[in-house]
């Protein structure tokens, strides 16, 4: 729901990195977005296409790596991944004691500049 704020934060970080490296335009930005991050990739792409106008990233592509939720169950000791956006119980054994290992990512990984 707050994809515009996230798009602006991505743009701010990318602009700073681009300037620091002594370049003037941003060609692409690669981000990891977790399935439990509350961010919808489509909405983020749309927000990014709006906020990038009139910036060094005006022609930039936003590449989103969608990271599924993954975890390890303390009850059955098995690892799991799911495409759901929330996990209440272990998909294998139904246990409630588990730790999420992936899914909350909101990270910038790589920027291509020119």
């Amino acid at each position: 729901m707050h994809e515009a704020s996230i798009a602006l934060s991505i743009l701010d970080i990318a602009k700073k990195q681009c300037e620091e490296a002594g370049y003037s335009t941003i060609q692409s930005i690669v981000v990891d977005i977790g399935g439990a991050s509350g961010i919808l990739p489509d909405a983020l792409l749309m927000a990014f296409d709006i906020v990038k106008l009139d910036t060094p990233a005006h022609d930039a592509t936003l590449v989103i790596n969608e990271i599924p939720i993954g975890g390890r169950c303390d009850d059955c000791s098995r690892d799991f991944t799911t495409d759901d956006s929330f996990v209440l119980t272990c998909p294998h054994c139904g246990g409630r004691e588990f730790k999420l290992t992936t899914g909350r990512e909101l990270d910038i990984k790589e920027i291509e500049v020119d």
């Binding site: 729901m1 704020s5 996230i6 991505i10 681009c18 981000v31 991050s37 509350g38 910038i108 790589e110």
Partner: protein, 220 residues
């Protein structure tokens, strides 16, 4: 040229949240971030809480709304320091908005600062503003399906206040189901059942605030 970056997208927010937290800890102010849907009764709960804690704790309030100063005016009537933030459309408060609002508040005069977030069950849970704990308010009339529909909010909160219990005879919402589902999402969640209309349960809530504040001071 490719630049490898290892950066949290929300790192700027986290940095400012850390600065806010340091300020709160310098003055020993306990800070609660209160979140709920619009109309759950956040401002009413705050008004009642302020009145009941008069003489025991000095409260301060930061009001977050998309637009308008109505809430701050309501809280101002209770004679406590209050700052209104208008997000101008944003669906949540972030750390920089709080940082700016703090310029209008003397934390030395505030034992417990309550940040009333924008009415929304989704986004406020994602943004740390430097608070010590998140507290969620849910009104019974919103329905007992909310914990399982908006799980993150319930998971991130330390306490849940279920309000409008006086409406129980008129709505098909089961407070027991709310409690059960909320606890299944967050076994450590502290749950209060109140009615701001009748005053039922409010003393348990304010007693908890007093205890929590005393524990906070002791540990800081």
């Amino acid at each position: 040229m490719k630049i490898n970056v290892v950066s949290k997208i929300l790192e700027a927010n986290e940095r400012i949240a850390a600065v806010n937290r340091k300020l709160f800890d310098t003055t020993g102010t306990l800070v609660l971030n209160i979140m709920s849907a619009p109309g759950a009764g956040k401002t009413t709960l705050l008004g009642k809480t302020i009145e009941m804690l008069k003489g025991s704790l000095r409260l301060g309030v930061i009001e977050g709304d998309i637009q308008g100063t109505y809430d701050a005016e309501q809280i101002g009537k209770h004679g406590v320091p209050v700052v209104q933030i208008n997000t101008g459309g944003a669906c949540h408060l972030d750390a920089s908005m709080i940082s700016e609002a703090l310029e209008g508040m003397d934390l030395n005069e505030v034992d417990v600062l309550i940040i009333e977030n924008v009415g929304n069950l989704v986004c406020p849970a994602e943004f740390n503003v430097g608070e010590h704990m998140k507290v969620m308010l849910l009104s019974l009339s919103e329905g007992h399906d909310k914990p399982l529909k908006y799980p993150l909010m319930f998971q991130e909160s330390k306490a849940l206040v279920v309000n409008k219990l006086d409406l129980a005879p008129y709505v098909d919402a089961d407070p027991e189901k709310i409690k059960k589902d909320a606890l299944s999402l967050n076994p450590g969640l502290k749950i209060f059942e109140v009615s701001c209309k009748t005053g039922e349960g409010l003393e348990v809530w304010t007693d908890w605030l007093k205890e929590t504040h005393a524990g906070h001071i002791k540990n800081s």
